[in-house]
Every structure is written in C-alpha cells, then in structure tokens.
C-alpha cells in the first residue's frame, strides 16, 4: 500500500526530470571541472596527495614538471579506468587500478629520466611515489569507475590543474624567499637558464629546505581557507559576549554610584 502511494506521489517529479537532466549535465560538467580548482582543491582543501608537494615546490621548474607528470598519469588513468569500468569485476578492481596507475607512472618516470635527468634527480623517489598518490587512486575509485568518459576526463583535468596551481603558488613563495628571486632552467637542456635575483643578499636558504616547505605549505593552506571561506557557522553568535560586556558596564556604573553615595 505504501509503495503505491509513494509511486503516485513521485510521478509528477519524474515527469519533470528528463527536461532538467539536459540542463543539469552541462552545468554539472562545468561544476565538475571547476570544483577541482577552487572548492575541492585536492591539495589545499581536501588535503590529498600531499607527499609530492614539499619536494616538488623547491623551485618553479620542479613544480611544473611534477604538475605535468601528475596530469599525464591522472588523465590517462581516469580515461582508461572509465573505459574499462564495465569489464572489470568488482572484487579485483583495486589491484587492476593499481597496476594501470603503476604502469603509467613507470612510463612517465622513464621518460623523465631520459629527457630531463636533472629534474628527475631533484624530484628523486617522488616520481615513482605518484603511484600511491591519494588523488589518483581516490579519483579512480570514487569518480572514474562510476561516471562517463567525458566526465572523468574533465574531473581529471580539474583536479590536476588544481594540484598544479597549488604547487605553483607554494613554489613561487618558496623560491622567492629562499633564493631571492626566480631561476628558470630549461628542464630538457640544463645549460640554458634565466634568472632574476633581485634580493639575493636577503635570501633565507631555509625556505628551500624541508622546514620552509612545511611552513609555506601550512600558511598557504590557512590563507586559502581565509580567502575562499565565508563566515564559519557558529562563530557569528556574539550575543553572549555583548551581554557579558554590557553587564560589566552596568556593574561598573553601579560601583561608581555606590562610591558617590558613600
């Protein structure tokens, strides 16, 4: 009996659904893409995939190369996984995803070792560690295995652009404070480099080490939350403070009156 009543009640909404669906898909696609950059930025808001952030942000070139590596792995893995999502049985899906991601990481690792050896040396073990980056496996599990190819592609692009922008901002601060300026070396030919070091004498070399990395990262996460978030719910109730202060004023006024009468 209840089911029939619910069915009758649900039909008007169901009738309206197909028209809404068309509009929703376009709006959703844009939301999916932009979410990865600001609202759900993997590094600054969701705090996923933090391991490569600190070693990759020691200079701007390192941040760009890490962004390219993560972009390649994330886009390809999301594409492949959403293409094969119907074929893979549910029990062994995690090892399958892991093998796909690991093979992609091996490809990009060997490419970087061959064509940009200096960058590969400075990033060290953190290129193979992209395999266990929480962003990639998390997105594969949560999004790519459930959505269409185009949505997964947009999500991958958005997430990696968010990651790249966060890394770039942190790298700008670290390099400027740590070396006094910016130095851009061509990753494929390390003889060519352009540098602009206006504040070289005032540099703080600790900022390009791990200590400065943690510090800059923490401050930028806090500042990003300050800029993007509006008032936190619950913090606006200042009525208790106001009443406390006004009672205090009354008490002082009474005390003054008492002194005068005495």
């Amino acid at each position: 009996m209840k089911n029939q009543v619910e069915k009758v009640q649900n039909t008007p909404e169901n009738v309206a659904q197909p028209e809404k669906n068309v509009e929703k898909k376009g709006h959703d696609r844009k939301k999916v893409f932009l979410a990865g950059i600001i609202k759900d930025n993997p590094v600054l808001v969701m705090l996923l995939g933090l391991c490569p952030v600190i070693p990759a942000t020691t200079s701007i070139i390192n941040a760009l190369m890490m962004f390219i590596a993560v972009l390649f792995v994330l886009v390809c893995s999301n594409l492949i996984i959403s293409l094969i999502k119907g074929i893979v049985p549910k029990e062994i899906r995690i090892p399958v995803y892991i093998v796909i991601i690991a093979s992609l990481v091996t490809v990009i690792d060997l490419l970087l070792q061959a064509y940009a050896p200096d960058v590969s040396n400075s990033l060290g073990v953190f290129i193979p560690l992209i395999t266990v980056n929480c962003i990639i496996l998390g997105r594969a599990e949560a999004f790519a295995s459930k959505n269409s190819v185009l949505d997964s592609l947009l999500d991958a692009l958005g997430m990696s652009i968010g990651f790249g922008l966060a890394c770039l901002v942190i790298a700008i601060f670290r390099e400027f404070l740590g070396t006094g300026g910016f130095t851009l070396t061509n990753p494929f030919n390390s003889d060519q480099s352009v540098s602009w070091l206006p504040l070289k004498d005032l540099a703080l070399p600790v900022m390009v080490q791990g200590i400065g990395g943690f510090l800059t990262f923490g401050i930028i996460v806090g500042l990003f939350a300050w800029i993007t978030k509006s008032k936190v719910p619950g913090k606006n109730s200042d009525t208790t403070l106001k009443s406390q202060y006004s009672t205090l004023k009354e008490i002082e006024a009474c005390r003054k009156e008492g002194k005068e009468t005495k």
Binding site: L202, L204, P205, V206, Q209, I211, L215, I219, G222, K235, D238, L241, K242, Y245, S246, L248, K249
Partner: protein, 420 residues
C-alpha cells in the same frame, strides 16, 4: 577582569599572583642582564665601543618595533570579534582596546628581550629582524597568541636565523681580544681532541674567574654566569619560575660533565672544576632560567616537569658533545617542547598505579643521562689517546661557527671586516 587567581588558557590555577606581575619581574631580571652586558661592552670595547653601542641600539629598536607590530596585528587577527564587541559596548576606540590587550594580555615586551639576549652584540640588523619576525609570527601569533603556543617563540626565531645565517652570526663574534688566546674549534669531538680534548677544558686560557664573570665575547645574555645564578635563585625564590625545571636541568648537566670528567681521567677536584666550567660556558644557564621555564610550553604536572628537564638535558648533552651543531641548548629545548604535550597526556591521571610509572620514568631518564655521561667520558678519552698516539702537526685555526666563545689567535681583528 583579572582576578587574584592566575590561570592560563587551560584553566589551571597556578598561584595567587597576577600574570602581569610575574612577567614584569621576569622582564626586570632580563633588563639586569641587558644592562650588565652594556656596561661590560662599554668597558671592554675600546675603540669600537661606539659602533657596538650603535648596533645594539639598532637591534633593540628593531626587535621591539617588530614585536609590537606583529603582536598588535596578531591581537586584531585572533580576537577581532571580541575587540569589536567590547569597544562597541564600552565606548572605547577599538584601536586602543587592541593596544591595551597587546600590553596586558599578550606581554609583547618579553620575547624581544629574550631574543636580543640570545644573539651576539654585533649581529646584523637584518638577521635580528628575521629572527624576531619569524619567532613572533610563526612561534606565537599563528598559534593564537599568548598561551596557545607549543614552542618557545624566542628559540624558534633564534634557530630559524641560525640555520639561515650561520656564517653571518659567526662573523659577528669576531672582535678584538687583548691577549693571544688559543683558538676554539668546533663542537665535534674530533676537533676538540685535536686541540687537547674536551677533557682538557679547551678554553684553556680562560681562567675560572674569567669564565664565571663572563669576561669573554659571546651571546649577550649567556656569558655572565654569576649574574645568571643570582638571578635564577632570586626568580626561583619569588616563584616567578619553577625551581624544579631549572635545578633538574642544570644539575643533570653538571653531573653529566662530572662523570665525563671522572671517567676521562681527571680526579675528583678536577672533575668538579671541569663540570663547573662546562655549565658556565654556553647557553645552559640562560636557557635553564629563562627559556626552559616558560609556563606555557612546559608540562603542568610536577613530575612531568622533571621528566621534561631531564629530556632537555639529555638532548643538550648529545648535541653539544656529538652533534655537528655548535650549540645544543636551543635545539634540545625545542625537542623537549615537542615532547611536553605527550608528557602531559601520559601523566594526566594521577593514580597510585601511575605514580610508579612516573618515578620509574624519572629514575630511568636520570640513569640514562648519567650513564651517557660516563660513556661519553670513556669515548672521548679513547679518542684522545688515539690522537696522541699519532701526533698531528696541524695547527688548524679555522674560525668555527661556535657562537658562544670566539677566541681569535694573535691578531687584532677590527670591526671593519664585519660589515652588514
């Protein structure tokens, strides 16, 4: 609003004294040290006195101005809504409210003075600026102001500046010395064994009295051992600082050096003298009286305090005698600050069952410190004997990065070489 009972942010009732009085007495003690160092450098400075005094004045100005600015805006940043409400209700300008809070609630005048006394006199102004900026901003303001920090802000700033500018600080201590003193080498065991070893009290030409009175160039607050002992006893008696922390720390290091001397070949009297020299030299007394005893960053529990001080003493000993860093006090106090919330958590429930754990932890740590004293003595003696077996012809006289004692050989190095 400030009652007679004193409490920190954690609601612990400590003693019937206002926090502001405690802070003022502490600042008074620091000022005594500051003034005595001014007098010392005026007497001993010779031709460079005016330069030293100018640099000192600039450093003080920079320290206080930066600390005030950071704390003023930090008070606004952390307590904006409260200040707005208070000023609206009471009818006072909100800038003045924040000013009052900076002075009375945030005690901005303590940290810059401690930071100033941790550096040598001729430190570059930029180094001092970075140190106080980072110390106030990162060590105190970001955590939420006074009472919310985990690490001592003066030490955070000091260590940040040390890691960045170690060469500049080393250069800042190069000043004229009247006689031909032997070089002081780095804090590693090998270089000390070369110049006669730790066991021969490498500051050989410094007499006991000179060391005690602070008649050598070092960081501003750390050299005057007699003054620090007197101030420490005064502050302990007046209950400004907790006696358990300071006495445990200094005594543990004294016994460590004593056993090191005993096993290293000195007799009883020689070991006593050696241990006494070891605690007079370096930042041990200053750190033990002013930095370790910060009530916000040390544990609340009584036995927790003893464990905390023992931990810091062990760290100081290890870094000083084995590490590559020149001075171990600041690093070890930061390490102990790192461990103090864990100590608080472990000892937060005082039952009979846990008392056994507390006292056994204290006993274990004390044994560790003293045992490592004995072990270090044996190790250094072994190194020394190895060194004497193969006579080295090196008279390596590299100016090290030891920021406390800087003794130069045979040359009148003027201040012209140290420009910043």
């Amino acid at each position: 609003m400030e009652s007679q009972l004193v409490y920190t942010n954690f609601g612990r009732v400590k003693s019937k004294r206002k926090t502001s009085h405690i802070m003022l007495e502490l600042t008074g003690a620091l000022l005594v040290l500051f003034i005595s160092s001014i007098i010392y450098y005026c007497i001993k400075g010779g031709a460079d006195t005016s330069k030293l005094m100018l640099r000192l004045f600039l450093n003080t100005l920079v320290c206080y101005a930066t600390a005030f600015a950071v704390e003023y805006f930090g008070v606004f940043f952390n307590e904006k809504t409260e200040i707005k409400e208070y000023s609206e209700v009471m009818g006072v300008n909100k800038w003045l409210v924040a000013l009052k809070r900076t002075v009375t609630n945030s005690y901005f005048y303590v940290t810059p003075l401690i930071t100033l006394l941790l550096f040598p006199i001729y430190t570059p102004v930029y180094v001092m600026f970075i140190s106080i900026l980072v110390g106030e901003l990162i060590g105190k303001m970001i955590f939420g102001g006074f009472g919310s920090n985990i690490f001592n802000p003066a030490l955070v700033g000091r260590m940040f500046a040390t890691i960045c500018f170690s060469a500049d600080i080393a250069k800042a201590t190069v000043v004229k010395v009247p006689e031909a003193w032997t070089i002081s080498t780095g804090a590693t065991i090998n270089s000390f064994a070369q110049s006669g070893g730790w066991l021969n009290s490498y500051t050989e030409s410094l007499s006991n009295l000179d060391l005690f009175l602070g008649n050598y160039r070092g960081a501003l607050g750390e050299t005057f051992a007699f003054l620090l002992i007197i101030l420490g006893i005064y502050l302990m008696v007046r209950k400004v600082i907790d006696y358990r922390l300071t006495i445990t720390y200094v005594l543990a290091l004294f016994l460590f050096a004593f056993f090191m001397g005993l096993t290293g070949g000195h007799n009883f009297g020689g070991s006593m003298q050696y241990a006494f020299r070891q605690i007079c030299f370096g930042g041990i007394l200053f750190g033990g009286v002013f930095c370790l005893t910060d009530p916000v960053t040390s544990p609340v529990n009584g036995t927790g305090k003893v464990i905390f001080a023992l931990f810091a003493a062990f760290g100081t000993a290890m870094i000083r005698y084995f590490g590559s860093a020149p001075e171990g006090v600041a690093y070890s106090i930061l390490l102990a600050n790192m461990v103090s919330p864990a100590i608080d958590k472990l000892l937060s429930h005082k039952t009979n069952h846990k008392l056994v754990y507390q006292y056994s932890a204290i006993a274990a740590l004390s044994l560790l410190v003293l045992g490592s004293g004995i072990g270090t003595g044996l190790y250094v003696k072994g190194q020394q004997e190895k060194q004497e077996a193969t006579p080295s012809t090196s008279t390596s006289q590299k100016v090290n990065e030891n920021i406390n004692v800087q003794l130069l050989v045979n040359s009148d190095v003027s201040l012209e070489g140290v420009i910043r």
